[in-house]
């Protein structure tokens, strides 16, 4: 068969043997005898492939594309006899520099391939680069020889997912992590037993696409240390895993290391979701660097004002022109690649509302990109989760174009639950809705509770502990005079701002953390936890921790002993959720009464049974879930009674009668001190008085009928 495919060179260019290439796939692809290079540019007048030996500042060859190597808007060439492992490549594009028309070609720049699957230049985390380097983010040619050993995506239904958001470096960089490869994919793999013990079944990784941690010019006040773009919400290479997060990045083995991590997580039954940032790139605004898009086809890739400036719907200087058909295909190619080549189980889209804007920035009613992703045959089993807002004022929680596929980070869940927890009055009605999977947002449109990714904390904002230790943000260390970061934290310091030696303050904070964990893991929908909250992690009031590569960001594993009761509470709440399908409905509940139990699917209560107080002064909410109707009666379960008292006084709650033949047992009572605050699912102690319970001040009680 090989003889039927032409693999012989037809040209010699710059001393290298070449022939006209194939336009697809884009990027650098190994073909018999050589490498096929293909890149799009609509407005370039000329293009050259620039080849470097690994790490060298000046190229050893530059191949201008002859006209016959250009098909449509694609430059493509097959180059023969290359030492594939020894080469880095880039492109030089010529064309108009006419910003008013959107063009910013600069033939003095060497541009990275947007499809590069392997990038060097930032191979080891935190090693300061040579700022004068003419080509900093250097594309390399990747191999496809990983042995997956039969691995496949886990396929956990969305309704059963417990998502755990983490930053790869923060998770194991602290010396107390005790791993062989701190701060890396391999280090995270070493912590899989911990994830299993906690019980989460999905990790959501903060950005792992290649980024430049040095993309930050601010200095930390006081220490004078350089601040970083530590989180990495600023992509340099969309197809390349970040080398600096790999122990083997210095060997260029980050692809293998990352795939090994995914395979090991899958073996443990844990899915991998990636936080992907398609709303903007690392090129910033008109003062930013040339990495690739700006010099390849600025007018295609970015949303520009009529004068040719960059729209800034991302808050990061530029906005990717996601609904241009070329860019749309790029995004789709990228996600397909991660799903197919890295076995990724799902994606969370940062500032996803930008993906629904048109080339002029206006929101589209039927955004082609979002529709394509929803119906894509390769992504069909991947979870798609939108951060359903952007920095340009578009807020689509509950109205993100979903096509029956998209789930959303439910910002309203976070805001309402935080207000309720801190004791704001008048929240009982909202809490009833939030605990039911937000039917106000996802009921009318038929999307169901699993469209709601419920969270109370995430990387943005306070940690859970800090939500109960700080009234206001304390971001001085970020070097912007505390002007960065959100102000709508809905936090309460429990009586003292910051670290306290008052045992009452500290006891209340721990109780509040448990209350929050209980609400999150009881709520219908899909819970998302922030890594470290189960260990009482603090950022000392910093609510915008994007720039700190210090123990302000790193998880301190030595805190586990002192916070054993928090870990225990979280892990048992997760186990309880897993044990009770009545907490994981596939549809919003209706209040339908079961002929067998005589109970409604869900009923609402307060200090009086069968009477919920939704008045403006109420800080109380209780509800009963009929186990016989769990999952439409398909997964019979225990009946549960759940009471929240966010009043500052203990209150007596009259209990609805448990189903006949059963009695109330106490699974959790955050008003009690450990070990009586939570029990193993299935071995809960019986409640002494069956018709009432005293629920402590700012406490949660969970009862199981059996």
């Amino acid at each position: 068969m090989d003889t039927r495919i032409d693999v012989y060179p037809t040209h010699e260019i710059a001393g290298l043997k070449a022939r006209a290439g194939r336009p697809l796939p884009f990027g650098a692809t190994l073909v018999p005898g050589g490498v096929n290079f293909s890149i799009f540019s609509r407005h370039a007048t000329a293009c050259a492939l620039v080849l470097f030996r690994k790490g060298e500042p000046t190229p050893f060859a530059e191949l201008p594309f002859p006209p016959e190597f250009r098909i449509g808007d694609v430059f493509c060439v097959t180059v023969f006899d290359l030492e594939v492992e020894e080469i880095e490549y880039g492109y030089r594009m010529d064309g108009p520099f006419d910003p008013a028309r959107g063009h910013r070609f600069d033939p003095t720049k060497i541009l990275s391939d947007p499809y590069a699957r392997l990038l060097s230049g930032r191979n080891q985390w935190g090693v300061e680069p040579d700022w004068a380097a003419p080509y900093p983010h250097r594309a390399r040619i990747a191999f496809d020889d990983f042995d997956w050993q039969g691995d496949r995506p886990v396929g956990t239904p969305l309704a059963d997912l417990v998502i755990y958001e983490l930053h790869v470096r923060s998770f194991t960089q602290h010396p107390s992590a005790g791993v062989r490869n701190p701060g890396t994919y391999a280090g995270l793999a070493e912590k899989i037993p911990y994830l299993k013990e906690l019980g989460v079944n999905c990790v959501e990784l903060m950005p792992v696409f290649e980024f430049d941690e040095f993309e930050n010019s601010r200095i930390a006040p006081g220490t004078g240390e350089r601040l970083l773009n530590y989180w990495g919400y600023s992509t340099v290479g969309f197809f390349a895993p970040k080398a600096g997060l790999a122990a083997t990045g210095q060997f260029g083995m980050q692809m293998d290391e990352f795939k090994t991590l995914v395979r090991q997580l899958h073996e443990a039954g844990i899915e991998v979701m990636l936080d992907v940032v398609f709303n903007h790139t690392a090129e910033g605004n008109e003062h930013g660097p040339y990495v690739s898009f700006r010099g390849i086809d600025n007018q295609t890739y970015y949303i520009l004002t009529p004068e040719g400036y960059y729209y800034n719907f991302s808050g990061c200087g530029n906005t990717l022109n996601c609904n241009n058909p070329v860019v749309r295909a790029f995004v789709l190619d990228c996600l397909r690649y991660w799903a197919a080549e890295y076995h990724i189980d799902g994606f969370r889209f940062d500032l996803a509302s930008i993906l629904g804007r048109d080339a002029f920035g206006a929101p589209l009613a039927n955004p082609p990109l979002l529709e394509s992703l929803a119906y894509d045959p390769i992504l069909s089993k991947c979870k798609l989760v939108a951060e359903a807002w952007d920095a340009g004022g578009l807020y689509q929680v509950g109205s993100f174009p979903a096509y029956g596929r998209w789930a959303e980070w439910n910002g309203k869940f976070r805001d309402d639950v935080r207000q309720f927890l801190k004791g704001d009055s008048g929240m009982a009605g909202a809490i009833s809705t939030r605990m039911q999977g937000s039917p106000d947002l996802y009921g009318w449109n038929g999307r169901g509770p699993t469209a709601s990714i419920n969270f109370i904390t995430c990387h943005d904002g306070f940690t859970l502990y800090d939500s109960f230790a700080y009234n206001g943000k304390h971001n001085e260390a970020n070097g912007e005079h505390n002007n960065d970061g959100g102000n709508d934290n809905h936090s309460w310091n429990c009586g003292w701002e910051g670290e306290s030696t008052d045992p009452e303050v500290n006891a209340l904070r721990r109780r509040q953390i448990k209350n929050a964990a209980a609400m999150l893991l009881l709520a219908h929908g899909v819970p998302l936890l922030l890594a470290g909250d189960e260990l009482g992690r603090t950022q000392y009031g910093n609510n915008n921790n994007y720039c700190h590569d210090t123990d302000l960001s790193w998880i301190d594993w030595s805190a586990r002993a002192a916070n054993a009761d928090l870990f225990r509470f979280f892990s048992r709440m997760i186990a309880f959720r897993r044990a009770h399908p009545v907490l994981r409905p596939l549809h919003h509940l209706t209040g339908r009464i079961s002929p067998t139990s005589g109970l409604p699917e869900i009923s609402f209560h307060g200090t009086a049974s069968w009477y919920a107080d939704f008045s403006p002064g109420s800080r109380v909410f209780a509800y009963l879930l009929d186990g016989t109707q769990a999952r439409d009666g398909q997964a019979p379960d225990n009946t549960l009674y759940i009471a929240f008292n966010m009043h500052w006084d203990a209150l007596g709650f009259a209990l609805p009668a448990p189903p006949s033949g059963s009695r109330w047992h106490v699974f959790a009572n955050t008003g009690a001190t450990a070990p009586d605050d939570v029990f193993d699912p299935g071995s809960e102690p019986i409640l002494s008085a069956q018709d009432h319970i005293l629920v402590g001040a700012r406490s949660v009680v969970i009862l199981v009928a059996r």
Partner: protein, 114 residues
């Protein structure tokens, strides 16, 4: 510097590598393995890495390619006496799960009962 020493052995091909593998020398390793396997069916090969101090990704890819080729032909490919620095890279990149490792040559021999 890399030294490649085809070594006589009973019942399998033995190749001893000393020094370090870089992308220039990696193809020589592949050629040496191919030459040592000539005439063997099924192919059986042991790489003695007790003297290998470093390998670039090119060397790792050669190990992987040989392992797959030999496995496909129904044979056995063993790396023995892998030194810690090389082992760490193999382990983190997932290769220890794909390649057969033996602590030393004596242990590798046991994989080929005569």
């Amino acid at each position: 510097m890399l030294e490649i020493l085809p070594t006589p052995a009973e019942g399998f091909a033995l190749v001893t590598l000393r020094g370090d593998i870089n992308s220039a020398s990696a193809p020589q390793v592949e050629q040496a393995i191919t030459a040592a396997l000539a005439g063997q069916n099924p192919p059986r090969c042991v790489l003695d890495l007790s003297g290998l101090t470093y390998t670039s990704s090119a060397g790792l890819r050669v190990f992987l390619a040989c392992a797959k080729r030999i496995k496909t032909a129904g044979g056995t490919f063993v790396l023995c006496a892998v030194q810690p620095a090389v082992y760490d890279v193999l382990d983190v990149s997932g290769f220890t799960r794909i390649l057969t490792l033996a602590p030393d040559l004596a242990a590798a021999r046991l994989l080929f009962p005569s």
